[in-house]
C-alpha cells in the first residue's frame, strides 16, 4: 500500500541523526531559558552521570531492536541484579569486584537464554522476554520476600555515586559518565564491525540474510547478550546511585525502548544507529528534566513515553512507505 508522500522537508536519510540532534537542541534551549545554570559544568556533569544507566540500556536495546526483536526483560534484570548484589555483598567492602564479575555472568546468561529461546525455540522475542520479565520479578520476590536483604558496600556504590574530583573546568566527572563513554566507544566499534552490519541486515530482511549465508540465530542471540551486559552495567550504576531497592529497574525497559525509537531506531529492525538510540535516551531525560523545571508532574512520564512511541512509529511509516 502506498501512502501519499508528506512534505520533502520532513524527510531525512534513514539512520540520520539530524532529527534527534534537532530535538535535543530545542529542549536544551528551552531548559537553559528556564534554568540558566543547567549547562554549568557541575550541574551538567551530575545530569549526565544520572542519565548514564538509561543511555546504556538504550544502547543495549538498539542491538536487539535493530536485529528485529525486542527486549522487555531489562528492567527486571536490573532489579534482580541489584537485589542479588546486595544479598551477596552484604556490606562486605572486599566483595565488590567478585560480585561485579558474577553479575556480568548472570546478565550474559539471561541474554543467552532470551536469545536461544527466541531463535531456536522460535518463540517471539516479545513473549520470550515478557516471560523472562515475569520469571525474574517472581524470583526476586520469592527470594527476598518483597524486602531485599543485605546491603551494598560503600566501595561497590562508588561507581554509581562518586567520580573524579577537582577536574579543572569541569569539577567532578562521575565514574558513571566515564563508564558510559567507554561503553559507547565499544558499542560504536561493534556497530561498525562485520557483526554490526550483519545485525542490521538480519533485522532488515532475515530471509535474505539467511540465504546469503548469515547465521541469523547467532547474530540475534549475540544482540540479546549485549542487552544483558548493558543491563548489568546499568544495574551496577543504579545500585550505586541509590542503593538497594525492590524496584530499582521498574519501568526501565519502556524507557529504553522509547529512547531507541525516539533516536530513530525502527521498531521491527533494520534501521537506526546506536548513537541515535543513546541520544534518544539523553533527549528523553532532558525532556523529563524540562518537565520538572516547568512544574509538570512526574506522573506524566509514562504518558509522554507512550505518545513518543506511537508518534515515532507512525512518523517512520510515513517517511518510509512500504517498499
Amino acid at each position: 500500500m502506498r501512502i501519499a508522500r508528506p512534505l520533502r522537508l520532513l524527510e531525512f536519510r534513514p539512520g540520520s541523526l539530524a532529527p534527534i540532534i534537532a530535538i535535543l537542541a530545542v529542549l536544551l534551549v528551552l531548559l537553559t531559558a528556564r534554568q540558566p545554570d543547567f549547562l554549568s559544568p557541575p550541574s551538567l556533569m551530575s545530569f549526565l552521570g544520572r542519565s548514564a544507566p538509561i543511555i546504556l540500556l538504550a544502547a543495549g536495546q538498539y542491538f536487539v531492536i535493530v536485529s528485529g526483536e525486542l527486549d522487555l526483560s531489562v528492567g527486571s534484570l536490573v532489579t534482580a541484579q541489584v537485589v542479588i548484589a546486595a544479598r551477596l555483598i552484604d556490606g562486605d567492602p572486599s566483595a565488590g569486584w567478585p560480585v561485579v564479575v558474577l553479575l556480568l555472568a548472570f546478565g550474559i546468561a539471561v541474554g543467552l537464554v532470551n536469545g536461544l529461546v527466541t531463535t531456536r525455540l522460535r518463540v517471539p522475542s516479545f513473549i520470550t522476554t515478557l516471560g523472562m520479565f515475569l520469571i525474574l520479578v517472581g524470583a526476586v520476590y520469592l527470594w527476598s520476600n518483597g524486602a531485599p536483604k543485605g546491603s551494598l558496600s560503600e566501595e561497590f556504590r562508588r561507581l554509581g555515586r562518586s567520580g573524579f574530583e577537582d577536574v579543572p573546568a569541569l569539577g567532578r566527572i562521575p565514574y558513571a559518565l566515564v563508564i558510559l563513554l567507554a561503553a559507547a566507544v565499544l558499542a560504536l566499534v561493534l556497530t561498525r564491525s562485520d557483526f554490526g552490519r550483519t545485525l542490521v541486515a538480519v533485522g532488515g530482511n532475515p530471509r535474505t540474510a539467511e540465504l546469503s549465508g548469515v547465521r541469523v540465530w547467532r547474530a540475534k542471540t549475540m544482540a540479546f547478550v549485549l542487552s544483558g551486559v548493558a543491563a548489568t552495567l546499568a544495574a551496577i550504576l543504579i545500585g550505586g546511585y541509590s542503593g538497594v531497592s525492590f524496584q530499582a529497574g521498574a519501568g526501565l525497559e519502556f524507557g529504553a525502548i522509547t529512547a531507541a525509537v525516539l533516536g530513530g531506531v525502527a521498531l521491527g529492525g533494520g534501521r537506526g544507529s546506536v548513537v541515535g538510540a543513546m541520544l534518544g535516551a539523553l533527549t528523553l531525560e532532558t525532556l523529563f528534566t524540562l518537565m520538572n523545571f516547568y512544574g509538570l508532574s512526574g506522573a506524566l512520564k509514562p504518558t509522554v513515553q507512550g505518545a513518543i512511541i506511537l508518534f515515532a512509529v507512525a512518523a517512520a511509516s510515513f517517511r518510509f512507505p512500504s517498499r
Binding site: 551530575s46 513473549i127 524486602a147 541509590s242 520538572n292 512544574g295 512526574g298 506524566l300 513515553q305 512511541i309
Partner: protein, 390 residues
C-alpha cells in the same frame, strides 16, 4: 491471547508498573509553590484531635513495657470467652511484604514462644497483600478449631464482612495495625496512629527550619489510610505555620526515584530548607541526594528503621523519627491470652507511640542489627534475640 493483548497494551502505553496515580498527585506548579492542596477525604477532625491529645496522655500499665501499656483505656468484659488452655491461636496476616511487617511478625512469633505452655498451636496464614486471599484465609480458619482469631487486615472496607463473619462464629476476634469498619472484634489494637506521626514530624521540621523556608513533602502513595492521615496532619501543621510547601511528590517508596525527585527540586529551587516524609524507608536516599549535590542536609524526618538512625548519628543530621512501633505485634498475643482467661482488656487498645529524638537516639542505634531492622521492636527481651531478627 490475553497475555498478548495485555502486554501489547503495556508496551504501547509505555506504562511503568509503579507510577503513582496521576489524578491524586499534587503536582507543583511553576514558579510559585503549590501549597498543600485540598485536605484528604481520609481526614476526620475528631480523630485528629483525639490522636493529638493522646500524644500527651500518660499510659497505664507496666513501666518499660509499652506493648502492655494502654492510653486512656476503656475496659471491656470478656468473661464469656473464658476457657481452659492450652489454646490454639490463629492469625490471618495481611502480608509479609515489607521490612516493617517482617520485623513485626518475628516479634510476634517470639512472643508466642514465651507462652509455650499455654499456647499449644499458633497458626499463621499469610494473605500476601491480597484482599481476596485474606477473605478466603479467614473463612478457612473458621473451620480449624481456633480458640481466638487475630487479624491484621489488608484493607479496611473489603475485610470488614470477613471479620464480621468470624465474630458471628462466637470466637474472640482481635484486630490490630489497620482497622475494620465494625465494632464486633473484642478489641482493636494499634499505636496512636497516622495523625500523631505526621504532626510530630511536621512540627519538628517547621520549628527547626528557617522562617519562610521551602519544604518538600515526600509521600509513598495515595489512598492508604495510615499514610493519608500522616499527610493530613502535616498539612494542618504546615498551613497553620504558613510554611512554603514547594512540592508534594509520591516516591513509591523507591530510593532511586526519591533521589531523583529530591535532586530535581534542589536543582529547581537551589535549596530546600526542610524535608517531611510520610514513611522513613527512603529517608536515606533523600539525605544522599543533598550530600551528592554538595548541599547541607536540611531538617528531615525518617522513622525508626536502623539505616536512617545510623545515618542520622554518623552525619549529625537535624532529624527526628516518629514511629509506628513494631512492638504492637506482641500485644495481640497478650490480649488473646487475657481474653481466653476472661480478663478485661482495653478496647480500643491504644499503645504509646514514642518518638526518637536527638536526646534518646543513642539508645536505639545498634550497628549489630541489619539496616532494615526497626529499632522500636520491643524485642530485646524476647527469646532468640538478636539472631531471629537478623
Amino acid at each position: 491471547m490475553t497475555v498478548l493483548a495485555v502486554s501489547t497494551l503495556l508496551v504501547l502505553v509505555g506504562c511503568a508498573t509503579d507510577e503513582p496515580t496521576t489524578g491524586a498527585s499534587d503536582s507543583p506548579s511553576a514558579g510559585t509553590g503549590p501549597g498543600t492542596g485540598k485536605q484528604s477525604k481520609f481526614f476526620v477532625r475528631a480523630d485528629y484531635d483525639k490522636q493529638l491529645a493522646l500524644l500527651d496522655a500518660a499510659p497505664t500499665g507496666p513501666a518499660g513495657k509499652p506493648w502492655e501499656q494502654a492510653l486512656n483505656p476503656a475496659m471491656v468484659e470478656t468473661a464469656k470467652f473464658a476457657k481452659p488452655g492450652p489454646y490454639k491461636i490463629c492469625f490471618s496476616n495481611a502480608g509479609l511484604n515489607n521490612p516493617w511487617r517482617q520485623v513485626g511478625f518475628k516479634t510476634m512469633q517470639a512472643e508466642v514462644d514465651t507462652h509455650r505452655g499455654r499456647i499449644s498451636e499458633f497458626v499463621h496464614v499469610d494473605a500476601e497483600g491480597k484482599d481476596q486471599k485474606q477473605i478466603a484465609d479467614i473463612n478457612d480458619l473458621l473451620g480449624k478449631g481456633c480458640h481466638a482469631l487475630i487479624v491484621s487486615p489488608n484493607t479496611t472496607a473489603t475485610l470488614t464482612p470477613a471479620v464480621e463473619a468470624a465474630c458471628r462464629k462466637g470466637l474472640p476476634v482481635i484486630v490490630f495495625d489497620r482497622g475494620v469498619d465494625t465494632s464486633c472484634p473484642v478489641t482493636f489494637i494499634n499505636p496512636i496512629g497516622g495523625y500523631g506521626f505526621g504532626h510530630v514530624a511536621a512540627e519538628f521540621v517547621t520549628q527547626k527550619m528557617k522562617r519562610g523556608g521551602k519544604v518538600l513533602a515526600l509521600r509513598i502513595l495515595p489512598g492508604v489510610d495510615v499514610l493519608e492521615t500522616r499527610w493530613s496532619a502535616a498539612k494542618v501543621a504546615f498551613d497553620k505555620a504558613g510554611v512554603d510547601v514547594v512540592g508534594v511528590e509520591f516516591t513509591d517508596g523507591d530510593p532511586a526515584k526519591t533521589k531523583k525527585i529530591v535532586n530535581d527540586y534542589i536543582q529547581r529551587y537551589g535549596t530546600i530548607d526542610g524535608v517531611w516524609m510520610d514513611a522513613g524507608a527512603v529517608a536515606g536516599a533523600a539525605v544522599e541526594a543533598f550530600e551528592d549535590a554538595g548541599k547541607p542536609v536540611p531538617p528531615i524526618n525518617g522513622e525508626d528503621q536502623l539505616d536512617f538512625l545510623k545515618l542520622w548519628k554518623d552525619k549529625k543530621l537535624t532529624a527526628i523519627a516518629p514511629t509506628y512501633p513494631t512492638y504492637q505485634w506482641r500485644t495481640p498475643i497478650i490480649a488473646a491470652l487475657k481474653i481466653l482467661d476472661g480478663e478485661q482488656v482495653p478496647n480500643p487498645w491504644k499503645l504509646p507511640q514514642p518518638t526518637i529524638t536527638q536526646d534518646n537516639l543513642d539508645e536505639y542505634v545498634d550497628s549489630a542489627m541489619p539496616p532494615l531492622h526497626y529499632a522500636m521492636c520491643g524485642c530485646t527481651d524476647l527469646p532468640g534475640y538478636p539472631r531471629r531478627w537478623k
